[in-house]
């Protein structure tokens, strides 16, 4: 049977053609993330170029809080662990575990967004606005873009969560792996932002 059976299967279930053997959706996601690197590269470069160029305060060193952001960074890193567990579960076709870890990932993503809105509100009250100075413009645009990425990821994950009750999620391992790639990437970008914006500010090499 072998070959003929596979061909038969191909015809009726349209197993996608892949020259490299890597699923199309994963190649798509990797290529998108390469492109997204350039998006964040431009945003982070702008922040660095404008660092120390604000003509009026508040300046970053006056408002940035390492403890709070360390906590939110930890939450986001944990969500990456949950995401990895969800991908492992869906590859085992374990629907219950997949559902659980997807929910946990999304929930921790939400907590991170909560931290971020707390931080934005706090900064706003201390006079950091988009219009106030270059720090405000660059900070909100960059972290806002990152937050938007997290929000889209949370929405995507919750959609999978809801889908798992109506459709066959065990069939969607490749799709969920793609979501996972996206989620890990967004986390890694946050590590860069946390280092460049928060940590370097207090190490004193940020100029």
């Amino acid at each position: 049977m072998g070959h003929a059976a596979i061909a038969e299967h191909d015809q009726h279930h349209h197993v996608e053609h892949s020259y490299t053997g890597i699923p199309n959706k994963k190649v798509l996601m990797w290529a998108f993330l390469a492109s997204d690197c350039m998006f964040f590269g431009t945003l982070i470069s702008t922040y660095i170029i404008y660092h120390g160029k604000s003509l009026v305060g508040p300046y970053p060193v006056e408002v940035l809080s390492i403890p709070v952001t360390t906590a939110s960074s930890f939450v986001l890193l944990m969500s990456s662990l949950f995401m990895a567990l969800a991908v492992a579960a869906v590859n085992r076709k374990d629907i219950g575990q997949t559902r659980l870890w997807i929910f946990a990932t999304a929930f921790f993503g939400l907590i991170f967004l909560g931290f971020q809105s707390f931080e934005f509100t706090e900064f706003f009250h201390r006079g950091v606005t988009l219009q106030k100075n270059l720090f405000g413009s660059t900070f909100y645009t960059m972290t806002g873009t990152h937050g938007l990425h997290v929000a889209i990821g949370v929405l995507w994950l919750f959609s999978w969560f809801v889908y798992s009750y109506f459709g066959d999620i065990s069939d969607k391992a490749v799709d969920i792996e793609s979501t996972g790639l996206y989620w890990h990437f967004v986390d890694i970008v946050w590590i860069v932002i946390f280092t460049v914006i928060y940590l370097v500010e207090f190490v004193g090499i940020g100029g």
Partner: protein, 638 residues
């Protein structure tokens, strides 16, 4: 005509093995029309999408061309006022924006769409609905840029939109907002399309189609799409920063708050220089297909041409500041960018010699496509020479912002890209329509274009060296520029007539051209091994590739044609959702432009909701599909 196609709808229980019933399909039935307007608006067929891209691009070529003629009329003689000065600013800004983003790029895209799957032996692109999405978002962006004319505030700050000519303070009104939103939306379309072609070329190749057996056009498409993926983000972020400044009062380019206007130039040219390779590499690919066919020889130095293309793409990111030699970057930066710019001329020269080498000793037929290909080499070489002149920073300081630069990039973009793409149209017209264009009339059109082009743009070198600046509204009669300006304007109309002849020839060919057959040019690549026009599934039997120029090889060695194995072919189903998402994006962008008007934010919100609805509908309906049996097709497989 897929008369025997059994179209599987969502509600069809008879086909338990279709994809559709494994998806939720909760958001209504899928479009099933096979002919008529709706079948085109909902199509996911790469060939139809390619044709739609092509027709849109030719439409905007005419629009941008009329804008250019108006600019030339204004400059025909000193002290004219054919157009009011502010309309003149809008006219040259929209001429450039239209030609680059709405004519040349989508015309290249049309070739990507139509040809790449055929050339690699695939039945469609990797993501057919994403392809339709790109088309719809492109239309949304094109509409945004052009509806601005109706409001009297078309973009007016030139295609480079330097800060702070675009700031709220110096550019009140909505011109810059239309420009920002239009380009943002077009960027989404380009990136989505590039993702699709990247995956398609990596994963959808027929068995045996290794990377070094890819037709050069596919290679250049691949490199171009990587450039789009990496170069569009910087401009997108710069546009977002400008949008934040204009719409929400941020300070990115606000000098009063310490912002640096030079930063815009850097972001713009980090995109802008790769963009010129995005415009030229597909054209180089087209020429690399035409030359071997009409020289009856393999492409000379195939690997060199491929690696030169890749090297050009790579170096394209290391030369951007040659657009900024007069900004006072300092000696080191000026020197560095001078050197990298000189270096990039080397792989370009390598390609030119390889093309000449391809023709050398060949059995050359000067059919219309070949005229365009050789015209490309000659004209592109002139444009390349003046480009190398710009790499010398001291000389560039003299030429900067003069008509010399205008001459240079029109030689590269019209003499280079457009010449090659017109040749590509003439070359693949028989494949796309099944009919031939008239050769004699085609040659008349070619020579009219060639003469008109040179009469228009060669004198601009002289005008530029005589100090005539770009983008000026008018000039005084005693500058010594009168004669050549008049010549340029006359040439522009000759060029316009040439293009008109080309279009008339296309229309006539479509109506009553001779039947082309599968392989009218005795060509080399896989698309010529299937009927003209190709059936919707492209290949009844997926070919197995064993050589570079496999089709040519099989014609010589008599390698048997692959035989259809009798299994029905799975085709992706059409979809409404790419259209929903595209329209949603248009409405959102319009709402953002008018966010300060009553209801503006509501409109933006409604557009965003439509977009989100479209995305969910898209995800939930799934790729879907139906089966086609080529052996029952009426006359498609012969």
């Amino acid at each position: 005509m897929a008369t025997s196609a059994d179209v599987i709808g969502v509600a069809s229980p008879a086909h338990g093995h279709s994809d559709t019933d494994r998806e939720l399909g909760v958001l209504g039935p899928r479009p099933v029309a096979k002919t008529g307007l709706w079948s085109w608006l909902t199509t996911v067929d790469h060939k139809r999408i390619g044709i739609l891209y092509g027709l849109s691009a030719l439409f905007f070529l005419v629009v941008g061309g009329v804008e250019a003629l108006l600019v030339r009329l204004q400059l025909a003689a000193p002290n004219l006022s054919v157009l009011p000065a502010d309309i003149y600013n809008q006219m040259f800004t929209m001429h450039a924006t239209t030609m680059i983003f709405l004519a040349i790029m989508p015309l290249s895209s049309a070739f990507f769409n139509y040809l790449v799957p055929l050339m690699i032996g695939a039945r469609d692109v990797a993501f057919p609905r994403l392809n339709a999405f790109s088309l719809w978002v492109f239309w949304a962006g094109a509409a945004l840029l052009n509806v601005s004319w109706l409001t009297g505030s078309a973009p007016n700050a030139s295609w480079v939109g330097y800060a702070n000519i675009t700031s709220k303070q110096f550019n009140p009104g909505l011109s810059a907002d239309y420009w920002v939103m239009g380009l943002l939306v077009l960027g989404v379309a380009s990136v989505a399309a590039s993702l699709n072609f990247f995956v398609t070329i990596i994963n959808m190749r027929a068995p045996g189609m290794t990377l070094m057996r890819l037709p050069v056009f596919v290679w250049m498409t691949f490199i171009t799409n990587i450039l789009i993926l990496l170069a569009f983000p910087p401009i997108t972020i710069a546009l977002i920063q400008l949008m934040m400044d204009r719409m929400f009062g941020a300070n990115f380019f606000n000098v009063a708050a310490g912002g640096l206007v030079i930063l815009w130039q850097h972001w713009f040219w980090i995109f802008g220089h790769p963009e010129v390779y995005i415009l030229i590499l597909p054209a180089m690919g087209v020429v690399s297909e035409i030359l071997p066919t009409f020289s009856r020889k393999p492409l000379f130095g195939y690997p060199l041409i491929v690696f030169s293309g890749a090297f050009i793409g790579f170096m394209g990111f290391a030369v951007w500041s040659h657009h900024m030699f007069t900004t006072g970057m300092g000696v080191i930066a000026t020197l560095a960018f001078s050197i990298t710019t000189s270096i990039i001329a080397v792989p370009t020269g390598v390609k030119i010699f390889n093309w000449i080498g391809t023709m050398w000793g060949g059995h050359i037929r000067f059919a219309t496509p070949m005229l365009y290909a050789t015209g490309f080499i000659a004209m592109f070489t002139i444009g390349g020479f003046s480009g190398v002149m710009h790499s010398a920073a001291a000389a560039d300081a003299q030429q900067h912002d003069t008509y010399f630069v205008v001459a240079h990039f029109h030689y590269v973009l019209i003499g280079g890209t457009l010449m090659a793409l017109l040749g590509g149209l003439a070359y693949w017209f028989p494949k796309i329509t099944g009919r031939m264009m008239n050769e004699a009339f085609g040659k008349v059109a070619f020579w009219t274009i060639m003469i008109g082009f040179n009469v228009t743009f060669f004198p601009m070198h002289i005008l530029g060296l005589n100090g005539m600046p770009r983008r000026i509204y008018t000039y005084s009669g005693d500058m010594g520029w009168n004669f050549w300006n008049l010549v340029c304007t006359i040439g522009a109309f000759v060029l316009a007539f040439g293009l008109l002849f080309f279009f008339i020839n296309m229309a006539m060919g479509l109506k009553k051209g001779a039947i082309a057959g599968d392989d009218p040019w005795d060509a080399r690549t896989l698309e010529w091994s299937i009927p003209s026009p190709p059936p919707e599934y492209n290949f009844a039997a997926i070919p197995t590739v064993t050589h570079l120029d496999d089709f040519w090889h099989s014609k010589i060695t008599g390698k048997p044609k692959p035989q259809y194995d009798g299994h029905p072919i799975h085709m992706p189903a059409a979809s409404y959702y790419p259209m929903v998402v595209g329209i949603g994006m248009f409405v959102w962008a319009m709402g953002m432009i008018y966010k300060d008007a009553p209801g503006g934010f509501l409109i933006a919100g409604a557009g965003m909701l439509a977009l989100i609805f479209g995305v969910y509908g898209w995800a939930l309906e799934g790729p879907g599909g139906y089966h086609v049996d080529p052996s029952k097709e009426s006359g498609a497989h012969n």
